[in-house]
């Protein structure tokens, strides 16, 4: 009972904080600008993309459609959305420690485990809201402005063409995997937040970790090959596996496993630290 009351409290605080709206505003601006640019100049972009295939394939129909827009916008997930999520979740514990309210909460008859878990849950709900807004902007507005059609993807393997009727489920499944990746980032920042009383530190460190792991993941050096499969950043793009034909199920299962292990491990570390933390702020 106390857990749910505390979760409600946490959510009220998130809703009342102005910084919580930065993420929504940035997504609206980023996706809005992208869709506007594609509406104005999208055909040129498509011609550049299809130029290398023009000799062998003739494209017919509406390539510049809402499905393609949503796919292209989704690529931004890896770079921007984790930062927007960490901006709020990285502050959930350390921000309260800096403000002194953690001290007030910790003298209430709610266990520290429940208090922290309510912060995790509220942070993960916030992450879901960010992602849903992202979906609405990317897929909803994409389809509204550009209409539907077959999805033509140009990836490192070559050209993949998916019928318009076969795309929607792939997007929703992709969003679920993307959510798992974002929850990992959110939980990383909350865990880091338990180690400090400085509200900016966990946000910066979370981003530093993502950049560092992404660089390691992209380096073509054999020494890192054994590490790469276990980095959560490797699996942040696992949603793309739903857009291959056939769907790369093994990679998706791998991603779900690695990200879930990360999420649970991070919660475990955070609970261990938070329950033993001397609250001196």
């Amino acid at each position: 009972m106390m857990f749910w009351k505390s979760t409600y409290n946490e959510f009220i605080k998130i809703v009342a904080k102005p910084r919580s709206y930065i993420g929504l505003a940035v997504i609206t601006a980023l996706v809005g600008v992208f869709l506007f640019a594609m509406k104005v100049d999208g055909n040129k972009y498509i011609s550049i993309m299809t130029a290398s295939f023009e000799q062998s394939i003739a494209f017919q129909g509406n390539l510049l459609n809402g499905n393609m827009m949503a796919y292209l916008v989704l690529q931004m997930l890896i770079v921007h959305i984790p930062l927007l999520v960490a901006l709020v979740t990285g502050d959930l514990v350390s921000g309260e420690a800096a403000m002194g309210t953690l001290r007030m909460l910790a003298t209430k008859p709610i266990s520290r485990t429940n208090l922290l878990m309510s912060k995790f849950l509220a942070g993960n709900i916030y992450t879901l809201i960010i992602l849903i807004w992202f979906c609405v902007m990317a897929l909803g507005f994409g389809l509204l402005l550009f209409g539907t059609g077959d999805l033509v993807i140009f990836n490192s393997e070559g050209l993949v063409i998916l019928p318009g009727s076969d795309v929607l489920w792939r997007f929703f499944s992709g969003f679920i995997i993307a959510y798992l990746a974002l929850v990992t980032v959110a939980n990383l920042s909350i865990t880091l937040s338990c180690f400090t009383d400085n509200s900016i530190g966990p946000i910066v460190i979370t981003m530093a970790i993502i950049i560092f792991f992404t660089i390691i993941g992209n380096l073509d050096v054999p020494v890192f090959d054994s590490v790469k499969p276990f980095l959560f950043t490797t699996h942040m793009v696992a949603w793309r596996s739903f857009f291959d034909e056939p769907v790369r199920t093994k990679e998706i299962m791998n991603a779900v496993l690695v990200l879930s292990v990360h999420i649970l491990t991070l919660i475990g570390i955070a609970l261990y630290k938070f329950n033993r933390k001397d609250i001196l702020s």
């Binding site: 106390m2 009351k5 505390s6 409600y8 409290n9 009220i12 605080k13 009342a16 904080k17 102005p18 403000m99 002194g100 309210t101 001290r103 007030m104 909460l105 910790a106 003298t107 209430k108 008859p109 709610i110 266990s111 208090l115 033993r276 001397d278 609250i279 001196l280």
Partner: protein, 310 residues
Amino acid sequence: MSEKIVEVKHLSKQFGKIRAIEDVSFDVFRGDIFGFLGPNGAGKSTTIRAMLSLIAPDSGQINLFGRELSKNRNYILSRIGCIIEKPDFYQYLSAEKNLEIFARVSGASVTLSKIHEMIEFVGLKGREKDKVGHFSHGMKQRLGIAQTILHNPELIILDEPNTGLDPQGSIDIRNLILKLKNEQNKTIMLSSHILSEIEIIASRMLIIVNGKSVVQGEVSALLNKQELIVTFEVDQLGKSLKIIGEKFEASIIGNNAHNLMQLRINHRDIPIVNQLLTESGVQVFGIEAKRKLEDYFLKLVNNDVLEKHL
């Protein structure tokens, strides 16, 4: 003797190489206003934080309401209201919303009308919807007290509630504390480094110095043990000094051109000195007695008395 609701035994805590408290022991009884006195850095806040499970002590035992804190944390905390050092609130939320948040996890069912009642009790009626970020320090202290009593706790712990307040603010908080004691019969533990504050409102007290408990007992008893500084306003200062010097065993600690004679004597000796003076033809226009708690406290702080006690 009334029920013992706080029992701290041999409490010690070290932060790195710094020993914050060492072997602190004391009891608080139901209905007490318990003064927890010590200079800054003496270990008052560390002790209180340990009592509220904010920090884990290295050794010792804390029992509240007859139960051990480490095993009954939630049960105990549901019966306590507290302010540690200063009340901190969510600046971006209104006073009412802040109280709602703390009430929700207080373990009691607190209605909105109860929240409004408490806001009125601390004199903030009309400011319920204002953001706490716009409140003065004094108003935050008042809101802090509202927060501590929302869930009708039996024990209220106030750590330095007068910090940063102007004289009027301090008087207001003192009156609120007395109101809690008199109207709601709360047990109050009040930490302070301001002697006069403890002297005025506390019934029992503990003095803590350098992390160690030094003296504990009834405030009136502790005060009565101490000598007084008594100032006599007389018409013949020279004669008075001579009489006292010859006939009375008292230490003369001052005299001045305004015919004021200061003596360090016990409370029971005031009429004896007065009688000696008047029988010798000295006119006494006024007698003013000041307690020596401050001197005593300073001695403790400077280890003069500390060595005798430990």
